[in-house]
Symmetry: C2
Subunit: 211 residues, 2 copies
């Protein structure tokens, strides 16, 4: 079967280790995956490069991208826009790469609407207790900060069941392996291979009549 790229959204609890996981996945399988780069109107921080961490845009440029439909999804946080440029994603998919967007649930559902075949993955620590330990950190945070993080975790948990897969991040290596296995398996899903099915049916009918 011809290998077409799959659009993948990765979400999960803050503190579930998504960042490290993505980095490891891309470093192990650089040929298979491309990480989508977001556009934003926030200012670059020290060490950030345009086109590497983000595509840095002015508010005016960003709003033009919205108007032209050049973003698959976007959102505004604290006066700054963040969004997923369509062109990069479509180019990489056409190259046969699986393209990963690391965004939260509202964005994930918008992407799924625009691209119904999108694969939604949710990363979770093995238990709520383990998540809390990670959020509490080294004991240097105030109770206010910890409580606000726990409230956020409860909100993040709300949409879990909308995702296709839940991936437990207990051991990094094991988790990367599972994630890669899941994505590779998804390439064989029937609904991603409609053309193959149509062709084999057509060919069988044709060959049935031949000597």
């Amino acid at each position: 079967m011809e290998k077409k790229g799959i659009l993948i959204v990765v979400s999960g609890f803050s503190g579930a280790g998504k960042g490290t996981l993505m980095k490891e996945l891309l470093s192990r399988y650089p040929e298979d995956y491309a990480l989508s780069i977001s556009a934003t109107t926030r200012s670059p921080r020290e060490g950030e490069e345009d086109g590497r961490e983000y595509f840095f845009k002015t508010k005016d440029e960003f709003e033009k991208m919205i108007a032209k439909g050049e973003l698959i999804e976007y959102a505004k946080y604290v006066e700054n826009y963040y969004g997923t440029p369509r062109s990069y994603v479509e180019t990489k998919l056409a190259e046969g790469k699986d393209v990963i967007l690391e965004i939260e649930i509202q964005g994930a559902l918008k992407v799924k609407e625009a691209f119904p075949d999108t694969l939604l993955l949710f990363i979770t620590p093995p238990t709520a207790g383990e998540l809390r330990s990670r959020l509490v950190g080294r004991g240097t945070e105030t109770m206010d900060v910890i409580e606000s993080r726990m409230r956020r975790a409860c909100e993040e948990a709300e949409g879990m069941e909308r995702y296709d897969y839940l991936i437990v991040n207990d051991d990094l290596g094991e988790c990367v392996k599972r994630m890669h296995g899941i994505i590779q398996g998804e390439h064989d899903r029937s609904f991603r291979n409609r053309e193959f099915m149509e062709n084999i049916k057509k060919d069988l009918e044709r060959l049935k009549g031949e000597e």
Copy 2:
């Protein structure tokens, strides 16, 4: 996450190599899988053992099993009954094994109705031409036989899109690996882990209130 067994139906074209594939999968991963044994009213052939190839039943016994709901699905071919005993499947699933039924599409759809979480896998050769070569065999078959096999293949292709995954059997080793990867990945699907999601949500709410 707790590992629960998945019920798996494997179908595919006659000549796609399902038998060899199943044998190889079970010999490589004996801890993970159990192959369901069908009940039948046909007579044992030489070398066949009750409880190994089939559970051999009288017509009367078989009809009692039907009446008592002891079969997940059954069908009658050429005056003989064939069916899937429920007890073996349920025992193995409870032990955490993934249980494989090798049956055709009508049976597959009945199983899916009784167990909606059943995973449906369809095995196919890479092309219709390749399937035809396998069906033609070594040139010792009559045209009638070949034509009847090709007609059957066309019928078998009808329900392909009802299956969850299409697995191309080109190279046996590669195919076994893909099949195993797909099944392992399926264990992480959200709908197979509802309990885990409910627990983590409940625990997060509880921990949110704690110091």
